[in-house]
Symmetry: C2
């Protein structure tokens, strides 16, 4: 089976990306659609799949592996979470087959900390793909986003992870809070250019401060006292929330992380981490494809 | 002047309350209107005042003292902040007179911590009023709300304070975040009854957890794994945000606070504080009137 080409899909909440990979993992073609699972009616997944990717599945022996929210209860087929600690082989052994031997969904991971569950779907594939790309068996990884994930891998095993609502809190404060009134309106041409100095000031305030509940108010008072100009406020606020997330990780100076995600956001995290004396190896968008290719190979 | 009756006004962002007090501070009459400063056009304050309270100011020698956002830049007359440390006498000495000897606005307080300002308007009057009611010269006070205030008073002097966006963060998460989708809709009959057990569970999770950015996600996973029922989620989330605020205060077991504000909210804070072994003396709604009466007396 390892010589088969692979259709790799990243089917998330709001987007659907696919790549056709050769046996060596080279990307032959890519497609992206605004057809996240929220846009697909119950029972409609097979049709959307056939319409958008059916032509890549015509060859005999075609295989498609899918990661992301397509495996959730609201997705194509529920792929029950794999409990941590979990190895790559555990995911491969628990694929949820939409069509036996032809189309499967990768399960997400779950972890339980003192009776409180945490979950991920899609990031597990990125994590194993990134480790393969970097040739690492152990690492601490951060995947920034609406809901950032922090993941620990030891000897090829995900031992634990946690979710941080950093991106969502930023958006709520940016758009719906009292702070929003002091900032440039998003409708007026989008977010101002990233202000690295204001961002660093926000990171520093978060690292020294007691909690975002308090430091967030400083975005208001610094504006009222004209110590920060309105176009600098979004970057300052971004520094506050990212700094709060990083502070809580109890990072050691000199520590090295693996950082992966959207480019603009990972650049901010890298800047904040550098201020803390922490280095980050960055992995690009190929991690999901690498993870799914590896999983296909493991089925051989 | 101390024998004069006093018209005491609490003129905030969204509400306007007034009381007619006799020379001993007894409330002779009270009125409340949904005429916060946001509803008053620039230049329109005198007219609103005359319409709603003019009849109480007819007697010769009438005095009106106003606390709250009426003293802000968007209010009737800007009363510049009084910098901490500040005594009650400092506020009285810096009243902003709308009409000399007749109508004045109490200044708010400001504090500067490492170049970051913090401010209050209205709470300073409540604080001094509460201390007078309780016969205290030193105390640590908490005024929960959309923006909670924590205030330290030593020997009659406000030495410092800080603002916490706890109530606003709760509302944002409750109404606009991914967590809102799992909770009973607010339109469907309002908030479910307070669930004291779920609230305590939230406080406990906040006290043990690393940051609200992470613990907030547990409201989602506990619901997804059916460990918390939807009607319990708002109380759990309330416990998370209030617990986060309290944790950051580094309270000592056996410590005693003064707690003042809206009844339902102060009851929640008292419950959370009790879980931490901290006691709270509660002060009712009369603190503002007591503070303004005291200020009028000091003008005598």
């Amino acid at each position: 089976m390892s010589a088969r080409p692979l259709l790799a899909l990243d089917w998330g909440t709001s987007a659907l990306r696919g790549a056709l990979l050769d046996a060596g993992g080279q990307v032959l073609a890519e497609r992206a659609f605004a057809r996240g699972i929220l846009t697909v009616p119950a029972g409609g997944f097979a049709e959307v799949f056939e319409t958008l990717f059916g032509d890549w599945m015509r060859a005999p022996g075609s295989l498609c592996l899918i990661s992301g929210m397509a495996g959730s209860r609201q997705g194509w087929l529920e792929a029950p979470y794999c409990a941590c600690p979990a190895r790559f082989a555990d995911l491969a052994a628990r694929l949820a087959w939409v069509e036996s031997g032809r189309i499967a969904i990768v399960p997400g991971l779950s972890v339980d900390v003192d009776g409180v569950p945490d979950v991920m779907r899609g990031e597990e594939t990125q994590v194993f793909g990134a480790l393969a790309l970097l040739g690492l068996a152990s690492a601490r990884l951060v995947l920034p986003g609406t809901h950032s994930k922090w993941v620990r891998v030891q000897d090829g095993q995900v031992t634990g992870f946690s979710t941080w609502m950093t991106g969502e809190l930023y958006a709520l404060l940016r758009q719906h809070s009292i702070l929003a009134r002091l900032m440039p309106a998003l409708e007026d041409g989008g977010e101002p250019a990233h202000d690295a100095a204001a961002f660093a000031q926000g990171v520093d305030a978060a690292l020294r401060g007691p909690s975002l509940l308090h430091t967030a108010f400083s975005a208001r008072t610094l504006a009222l006292f004209e110590r920060l100009a309105p176009p600098a406020l979004p970057s300052y606020l971004s520094g506050l929330v990212i700094g709060e997330e990083l502070k809580a990780q109890q990072l050691a100076r000199g520590e090295s992380l693996v950082l992966m995600g959207a480019q603009g956001l990972t650049a901010r995290y890298a800047q904040a981490l550098a201020l803390m004396g922490v280095s980050a190896r960055q992995v690009g968008a190929g991690a999901t494809w690498r993870g799914l290719r590896g999983m296909a190979d493991s089925l051989a």
